[in-house]
Symmetry: D2
Subunit: 243 residues, 4 copies
């Protein structure tokens, strides 16, 4: 039994309410499918855009080790104050798993410092997510590749900082590639961007996709140590007087 | 003769006006000392905080390949609109050299996505900047280390993303270390953070410090290619119909 | 309770037999002090240079998740065949923790591809090992720095590939810095180089040093997945005929 | 006019002598096509396996800034002594461009420390090499991707260390991806692995492929500085006596 990790799954939860196809794939919301797929011990909470404080109160974040983020059509409605709050938590060690169209979320762009732009296409095409770093804990138990029969295409150039560790690269039927599994550390927080999960496909029911997200949660769990001290510091050694 | 690179040296230019010691070290402003030390062909422009648009109009940025940034006491006075403008330019390829206390500038924090916080101490102590990547172009012509008899101390933890390439690490007399020469790519832009240069010391007259800054300008010069296309894309290959 | 990890501690075990000072510090051998400091579940085995096959038979390696390596005066006596055997195991996922003078071991040089050379000095000087990546699992439970009152100095340039993740940097009283905690992945194996541990000092009794080594063992434990398939491959997609 | 860079193109030069198809594509040898495509100032030398010392005498290497390497069927015939000589030169700053099947050359494996194994397939399939780091100097003047109508497939997992900088990723018609443009620093030497160039296709006549190789030569050119000093070092600071 591994150490408990408390996870909060944040979902924009709009497509499910307005689009029949999405509602039929995810009748309880994408967050439910994501949460059900988590193989972690610890509490799992749900938070959505339309909850008070988007469900991300200080109390919720205080009891969150790793936050999972899915957003798309309403990135602009996420309040800057909440983004700032989440940002501070990540720098202090909370893990963050950003899924699919979350690449354009305020929090991901703020943490990356780049446009996070990319190419995309909705054409029901095949995606094959290749593991390029098979010794990485996020690749634990995953085969050589994950094949998704239908997904939205995301293509390079993906405007992100070079990942600290690149774990997966996608192949798309229509001719593109994409860096699909990207690890970062920002402050004391670990961040994993994972590409798949367009709202019209049952991707978050895929056992291998669920395994990757569970692995990522474990990888992104905070270390147990004090936040560094910053600011004015006394010398640790005697400083010689200068002539 | 190498390719011309147009450089703009941006200086906050406040300490020099209010602090006698700084004025005596840099009577024409720190920007002048930095600009005079540049061994590059191409035009060199000066821009300061109190210029209209902080000296960073579209016209100036249009004719800038690499921007050098020194700021400290007035980071908050830099207008967000100008920060946004510089950010966009960096993502499109303009190089950026951030010096010393510029670690806390809005533009550096925006590009890094972290707090960029650190330890500091003003105690006239010795700094020794060790080259840890001697094959890097920014280390060209530099000895094993650069010794500065008196500098402000900056100590770890320095809250930055892990550099894409770490070129230099400082030793301080009072007992700390610091990652002093850090390379990043963000979008198409290359960024170099270089630690030394407290306003009360003649650091920017040091020939080795000047050599590093000149090397960094050459390293950060933009490539000659089109900005990537983003957004909706047509398939390059035929996509098979799904049953 | 975390997952059991089987560890083999390899020690050259020569200094202890020939040098009184070393024998007085480590009367049961350095391996015993290192093994006693391990806070891991799982079996711990000992192997030394003068054992048959240097204690690294296939049977031993088959039951080793992570191998710890301390060597110094007899690197040349390690048989190439055993080095090759360990190398293959690392590529297939066995973790490797290389300590101190192990930087010049055949196995570390083979994995790094560089000379692994450095500066050194034996002068009973103070070392302070600063954490530069406080969110890293190897920094779990460690303070801002580890202070060792007396150690051998190792100084830059340290001729290693840029670490995939740099976790610690040392400050030395005599004026040098050193990249002291360096993470690599090679094949499916994770490697951690950790600087301290000269044979004449009681470094491996230090609780923080022991904590780092224990953390590194957990970090370097293998993932649970198949080794990739290499070689000739059939197409996964139909390849269109060319005219 | 840029600084002259002396380049030596090393070619195994066996396929051209024994395989009619290869001879028809590269009647003067692959080295000639590679050399003709170089847009660099400086001397260009040719060296092949069957030359004395494989054409890589000390005199030749003394006048080589960057070495380009193509080999395939006779990796085993390259003498270990010559490999060692080239290795030493790379660590001291000589650039190395490894092409295609050179991934399995002794020199590349020695520098990488891994098996350098991969998947492959000869099926006349389309390759599309996507630029994932458009600000990198090796991507200068290159479009979004380079399309090669027919090439040998190389697929992941490619057993290399994570590149210091990943510049290109290939898409293959048959369903695989591959990290195709990989930058490393080893010692003071810069290394670029570039995937395309199977002997039966006219890849080295492709203007974009030639541009990449020329860019890589410029990127890999040595810096102008002394090799670091290693070994026993005197203290730079006074070391306090311990009680």
């Amino acid at each position: 039994m591994s150490k408990p990790i408390n996870v909060t799954v944040w979902n924009e939860h709009r497509h499910e309410k307005t689009n029949e196809k999405v509602a039929s794939v995810y009748p309880q919301g994408m967050h439910t499918a994501i949460a059900e797929g988590l193989d972690v011990t610890g509490n799992i909470q749900i938070a959505t855009l339309d909850d008070p404080e988007h469900g991300l109160s200080d109390a919720v974040l205080n009891s969150t080790d790793v936050l999972i983020w899915w957003g798309h059509m309403a990135h602009g409605e996420v309040q800057d104050e909440i983004v700032e709050r989440v940002h501070q938590r990540v720098l202090k060690g909370m893990g963050l798993i950003v899924l699919h169209s979350g690449h354009f979320s305020k929090i991901f762009k703020k943490l990356m410092g780049t446009s996070c732009d990319l190419k995309w296409r909705e054409a029901d095409e095949k995606e094959r997510i290749w593991v390029v770093n098979p010794g990485h804990p996020i690749a634990d138990g995953i085969g050589e590749y994950i094949e998704l029969p239908q997904e939205e295409m995301y293509g390079e150039h993906f405007d992100i900082p070079q990942p600290d560790e690149l774990v997966m690269v996608s192949w798309f039927e229509g001719g593109e590639v994409f860096r699909s599994g990207c690890c970062y550390t920002r402050g004391m927080g670990k961040i994993f961007y994972f590409r798949p999960g367009h709202e019209t496909y049952p991707t978050y029911y895929n056992p291998q996709v669920r395994k990757v997200i569970s692995n990522a949660v474990k990888w992104a769990a905070p270390v147990d140590r004090e936040y560094p001290r910053y600011g004015n510091a006394q010398p640790l050694e005697t400083i010689k007087e200068k002539a």
